[in-house]
Amino acid sequence: MGCESCHGPGKAHVDAGGDPSLIVNFKTMRPQEASTYCVTCHDRGTHALWTGSQHDQRNVGCITCHSVHDPKGDHQLKAASQMQLCATCHQPIVNKEQRYHHMPVREGALTCASCHNTHGSQNVRLLRVGTTVDESCTSCHAEKRGPYLWEHAPVANACITCHDPHGTNNDRMLVAKLPFLCQRCHVTSRHPPTVYEGFLLNNSTNANKIVGRSCTVCHQQIHGSNAPSGQFFLR
């Protein structure tokens, strides 16, 4: 590859003493337009779904994140790490990595691209693997893939009904603290809708539904069970 592979014929540019207006100059283009040059080659593999992808629609182009001439990180990224780069627009998400319960992104064992293909995806939310949120999550957490004899309806739908994979201050990256998360749906009778508060915490064996694992100390098979007696996820 040479300069003209991307910047077009350069003779006039050179003859004019380097006039930048006489070559293809990506700095003067909208990012989306600049990307059309890149995808003439980078149109296969993981880039095949770029055109029309969520980022492409928002006028995020190849040159928004990558620098051919002055990269700072791997894959010719403009920042030293993906986390830094993604924080440019997604700072609230990156902040979640600072929560007590988080994925190993801030430790460097995973990156944003471990789960997301920022160049486009067949899945939702630009997820890299699978065709559903669950398939993406269980590509690593295969022990929770099932299918099971007894299934929990929201698990079959999407892991993110209960978990925030970017990090939370709740145990196991749950979107709310137990037992209150479970109580958002389990408005039945007897122990599920009991008011779990400080009096029970200090005076009753019902404290075991507040402390530690909370509901999942008994309903530990909440992702599904293959035990014949497991329909309430106790076994």
């Binding site: 003067t28 283009m29 909208r30 990012p31 059309t36 095949a48 779904l49 029309g52 492409d56 928002r58 006028n59 928004t64 830094q84 780069l85 924080a87 440019t88 627009c89 700072q91 902040n95 007590y100 801030r106 430790e107 460097g108 064992a109 067949q122 269980t138 590509s139 893939r145 004899l149 309806a153 079959a156 739908n157 009904t161 201050n169 209150f180 109580q183 749906c185 389990h186 408005v187 039945t188 009778s189 809708p193 008011v195 508060e197 400080g198 915490l201 064996t205 402390v211 530690g212 694992r213 999942t216 100390v217 008994c218 530990q220 098979q221 293959n226 014949p228 007696s229 329909q231 076994r235």
Partner: protein
């Protein structure tokens, strides 16, 4: 005033002459040992083969206090050696690189990549620990993985009522449980090790074969619930010993105008542990005959048995095509068929021999044996995506997407009408298994208008319809409208703004489906309830001069659940978050910046504390209660990068802070009545704060050889009502609390210091 500001902004956009992409955050990557950064790197001669790399060896020392496992979490920071080696070679024929890090430790990593000729090959070995706790203890003893025993003599004393075993009331908390005395230290940790390679070979310019294989082994222990009754809940260490093998293969055919690809992905999970069997902390013998209230009073079996995650398999075949139309239009689409299966042998209904008797079988004939020997669980998935993007002129473009997903559960129904609760009691109040089928039809159209030189305005509409079996609504449909504006590529300002409104409406509501599960008829599950959603984001980045940029971002969202008859469940959920950051690049000697962010979450939910019908409590509104959950989180980051602190010296310092205040406010008539009876105490807020300081100084004696010194400090404080410590010993887990023998796993404070001294060689 407002029009003047708007005109000023537009003017800035119009007069911009040179375009720069939005600057990335320069906030350094956290918790990583910075790579060697010699002040002046030599440029290789153009066109010559280039070989470079680093040798980064040294010593690391770590001291901790408190919950050290949480400090290390996914790392191995033990005192000892430190290593990082990289090698990179580029010639006109191939590219090769290899790297290794923290060799010999639980988070060691190795990798290599080769690209040249007609293909590429990459290989990696990664080891990721997950450290849960090193403060935990347990009285259970692991005989073999999945088999836990508990001291028989202690259990006999507990059963006889001679000692406190599982505390049953506040008075018993004053006497240590016998299990506390016999508990042994338990390090809860697991290790995930993955070896993988991927590669591709180009048969021709147009035809490429690619494939990969990854094998992941997991070993260790995790905290796990293993209970016998409402008043006998346990947490035990569950052994982890599994392997997942993943393989992929694809064949890709490309032409200048398009491409076509077929692929396969197989994933095979093998759990080497088949069941968990553990002793009861409340009893040493099976209650005989069984006590019909054993599941609530603890008079159950001597031991229990449960299933563990079963072996499973996923196979997916995929076909993908893309074609570039004229002018500037692309159509692409994919079809994927997925099959997931799980067919492990089923464990028996119960391990309790008291229930496995002819007399019990006469009353519960289904319990003689499970209806089938294996799970026979199967789900087929069909996913299709079709995208069309047209940009007929530079002024506008259209993007349309249709997505179909069918999650078809084909597991034969399982008759669990009669089952055994907690291995203690046979009951006939169960039911058949359910097939949660989901069919999702999604369509989305967006039109982009390039209204100004650097600005794109987008309007869009989305339709998402879910048909679901086994839920209270047979269908829910989302209608979404959105608009966004993105001003990007301008030298001085970047603006990204989005507003999205979604209306969700369910149909085919079945009150019977709710009542079959014992739920209040006014309950609506929040993942299917009628809902209105507002979401907005704003990103405003200003670069008034080359040496400064300021970023402000705001995100807000609100979900309000409603609809006919909706009374219970989650009522609303809201989030507001903002960040403001500033970066200075005054010279090549120093860069520094800071970011402050605040996140606010709140939600309201409603419930009713009642016995089931025909008890009038079930429909008594005086037993209603509400919970308002509010969490505020502050984030702060500060960095200073000094690439030329002094001659031959570079330095970098970062400081990060995150703190949270999570409040739980109960209200409603039920709360008032409990309070009047002296039976309500508000839960304290759950708070935490986390601080991290990291510094790196590198001094190069000569351009290629130097030394580095790094220091990390982390401090975490937390107050959480769900974590119980021994009275007077904060930070020391109490395993014997009301109705529970646990491992003591919880959220506890820690401090950690780690220092590195490194010898750096850059070649």
């Amino acid at each position: 005033m407002r029009p003047q500001i708007a005109f000023a902004v537009i003017a800035v956009l119009l007069v911009a002459q040179a375009a720069h992409a939005q600057r990335p955050s320069l906030q350094p990557p956290p918790e990583l040992v910075p790579e060697p950064r010699p002040p002046a790197a030599e440029a290789p001669p153009a066109g010559a083969p280039v070989t470079f790399g680093t040798i980064d060896l040294g010593f690391r020392g770590t001291t901790t206090s408190g919950n050290a496992a949480a400090y290390e979490r996914y790392r191995d920071l033990r005192t000892g050696s430190w290593s990082r080696l990289t090698f990179d070679k580029t010639t006109d024929r191939y590219l090769f690189d290899a790297a290794a890090q923290n060799i010999g430790y639980r988070d060691q990593r190795f990798g290599a990549d080769y690209m040249g000729g007609k293909g590429w090959l990459t290989g990696a070995f990664e080891s990721i620990p997950l450290n849960y706790s090193n403060l935990t203890t347990t009285p259970w003893v692991e005989q073999t993985p999945g088999q836990l025993t508990l001291d028989v003599a202690a259990r006999q004393l507990v059963q006889a009522g001679a000692v406190v075993g599982v505390p049953q009331n506040a008075a018993q908390l004053n006497t240590p449980s016998i299990y506390r005395a016999i508990a042994n230290p338990l390090v809860l940790e697991s290790l995930r090790q993955t070896g993988a390679f991927t590669g591709a070979y180009e048969f021709s310019r147009n035809l490429t074969l690619d494939g990969g294989f990854a094998s992941t082994k997991r070993e260790g222990h995790q905290p796990w619930g293993a209970s016998f009754a409402f008043n006998v809940a346990n947490e035990v260490p569950l052994a982890i010993n599994s392997r997942t093998n993943d393989a992929t293969a694809g064949l890709e055919w490309t032409r200048p105008r398009g491409m076509f690809r077929v692929g396969w992905w197989g994933s095979f999970y093998d759990n080497h542990i088949n069941e968990l069997v553990w002793d009861n902390a409340f009893r040493s013998t099976d209650t005989s005959p069984f006590d019909p209230n054993g599941y609530s009073n603890g008079n159950g079996p001597a031991r229990g048995r449960m299933a563990v995650p079963p072996d499973n398999m996923l196979n997916a075949v995929n076909a993908f095509g893309m074609y570039k139309l004229q002018p500037r239009s692309v159509v692409n689409g994919a079809v994927t068929f997925t099959r997931m299966t799980s067919n492990d042998p089923l464990i028996p209904w119960t391990i309790n021999p008291v229930i496995q008797t002819p007399a019990v079988f006469a009353a519960f004939p289904n319990l003689v044996a499970p209806p089938r020997a294996t799970a026979e669980a199967k789900v087929d998935g069909l996913n299709a995506v079709l995208n069309f993007t047209a940009r007929p002129t530079r002024l506008m473009g259209v993007t349309a997407r249709y997505r179909y997903n069918n999650h078809d559960n084909k597991t034969p129904l399982f008759n669990g009408t009669q089952y055994v609760r907690f291995d203690a009691v046979p009951v006939a109040t169960g039911g058949f298994s359910e097939q949660f089928d989901i069919v999702d039809n999604f369509a989305d159209v967006n039109v982009n208008f390039n209204v100004l030189r650097y600005t794109t305005l987008r309007v869009g509409y989305g339709f998402d319809s879910f048909d679901r079996a086994g839920r209270s609504f047979s269908n829910m449909t989302d209608h979404t409208i959105r608009t966004s504006i993105d001003t990007v590529g301008n030298q001085w300002v970047t603006i990204r703004a989005l507003y999205e409104f979604t209306d969700r409406t369910g149909s085919g509501f079945s009150e019977d489906a709710l009542e079959d599960g014992g739920s209040q008829p006014g309950l609506r599950f929040y993942d299917e309830a009628d809902r209105t959603r507002h979401r907005g984001t704003l990103l405003f980045d200003v670069t008034p001069m080359d040496t400064v940029d300021v970023t402000f971002s705001l995100a807000t969202g609100s979900d309000t659940y409603g609809g006919p008859g909706h009374e219970f469940g989650l009522l609303d959920s809201n989030i507001q978050t903002y960040n403001i950051g500033i970066n200075f690049y005054p010279s090549n000697v120093v860069n520094f910046g800071a970011n402050y962010g605040r996140d606010h979450f709140d939600s309201n939910q409603k419930s009713r504390n009642a016995n089931p019908p025909p008890d009038p409590q079930f429909s008594d509104p005086s037993r209603d209660w509400m919970l308002k959950n509010t969490e505020n989180v502050n984030n702060f980051n500060l960095y200073a990068d000094l690439p030329k602190l002094a001659r031959k010296t570079t330095a970098r310092v970062t400081y990060d802070l995150s703190n949270s205040d999570n409040a739980f406010a109960h209200s409603g008539p039920r709360i008032l009545s409990l309070a009047a009876a002296g039976q309500f105490i508000p839960l304290p807020n759950v708070t935490n704060s986390w601080h991290r300081l990291a510094g790196d100084v590198q001094y190069f004696f000569v351009p290629r050889i130097g030394v580095g010194v790094d220091y990390w400090y982390e401090r975490f404080n937390v107050r959480d009502f769900n974590t119980i410590d021994i009275p007077g010993q904060p930070g020391t887990p109490r395993i014997d609390y009301l109705g529970e023998i646990s491992t003591g796993y919880g959220n506890r404070p820690y401090r950690g210091h780690t220092a590195f001294v490194r010898l750096l060689y850059v070649y």
